[in-house]
Symmetry: C2
Subunit: 188 residues, 2 copies
DNA sequence: ATTGGCATGTAACCAGTTACATGATTCC
DNA sequence: GGAATCATGTAACTGGTTACATGCCAAT
């Protein structure tokens, strides 16, 4: 029942197709809720059946027709009700951390490589998020935006994504440094 | 197949019962891999069948008997092999962020409350992690530890947990401040 | 010619969650 | 007397993942 609300939250930005949502819908919710295309199509179907979203068929020539989904009043109510019930604690599941934890029983060079890869992907996400923030702020300072914008929710979640990726980058550097200093030692 | 490796990584610290693991096994892996007791009992059963762990029955008087699990050589090999294969990207699913994103279509006072609750739980986790770190460091500085300890994996993952919770606390303050300043405005 | 993007979907499977059950013991 | 802790487990369910299929278009 939570994917459902993540979809509803995304549709606040306007109507979208399943494909749009699957692509991350330009970053908005993708930042804090991951879902595969199959999950989305399945859930959208159910939501339409439950009257939370309305589907509109858009016929296209040259490419497949698409179904654009938008919020119904019932969907909006559901989302409103959702904000009143306690969120469950975040569940973290990070395979890389499992590998780092057991690093010295495994292949340190591999772990090093995966940490570097994680850092790279964190960097590219961060630049994407920063672009998004610039677009949102549109010249205003953060203080101005927070005081004046109609909706600050998307800005606040984006801020969480930004600091998360910054932390990731920093931590990866720390780990790479620690591994490198130990390898030096071992060789010397 | 990843819960499996998280369990193996935990068992590097020594043998444990399903119950120990369920309680978070004193924080170690619980920091980056969440699992319910049911998942653990089920998985331990399978792992024993696959020869990755060995079960030892400990008879107790006054309380239920327990089965202590420990790594086998096959388990150790499996864990070693695991570090060489690419970790899948972290999946984040945070209900609170869904609520924050759609805050202005919902009940702002509730969201405020849940953010405050999240901050509280982040604080208590952080103090737990800091205690764990002190115990690990045991008087040494971080630099000394990283240079000298036999295993630094657990320290590195703990460091990630610490910075994650610190970021959480900071972000929650930011959100609470933003909400409060808007409510002031609305009232004035 | 073939890759990649658009756009949807089915089927089968695996992982994670919830609810419940047991039974003695210790603490308040 | 009632709740919490120890310690394990079953059963039923929901949510998430993987693999595959379709078919047309634009670009290389």
């Amino acid at each position: 029942m939570a994917l459902r609300n993540a979809i509803l939250a995304t549709l606040l930005e306007g109507e979208a197709s399943g494909y749009d949502l699957a692509k991350g819908f330009d970053g908005s919710v993708a930042n804090f809720w991951a879902a595969t295309p199959q999950q989305l199509y399945r859930e959208l179907e159910r939501m339409a059946a439950d009257g939370l979203v309305a589907a509109r068929l858009v016929e296209q020539t040259g490419r497949p027709n698409k179904r654009m989904f938008s919020l119904t009043d019932a969907g909006r109510d559901e989302l409103g009700a959702y904000t009143t019930h306690p969120p469950r604690p975040i569940v973290i599941r990070d395979e890389l951390l499992v590998a780092v934890q057991s690093m010295e029983s495994g292949d340190v060079a591999s772990v090093q490589r995966w940490v570097a890869a994680r850092q790279e992907s964190a960097r590219s996400r961060l630049t994407r998020y920063l672009r998004l923030r610039d677009r949102l702020l549109d010249g205003r300072s953060e203080a101005e935006f927070v005081a004046g914008a109609e909706r600050i929710g998307p800005y606040l979640t984006l801020a969480r994504g930004i600091s998360f990726e910054e932390e990731n980058i920093r931590w990866c550097s720390f780990v790479l440094g620690a591994i490198a200093s130990r390898l030096d030692r071992a060789v010397t």
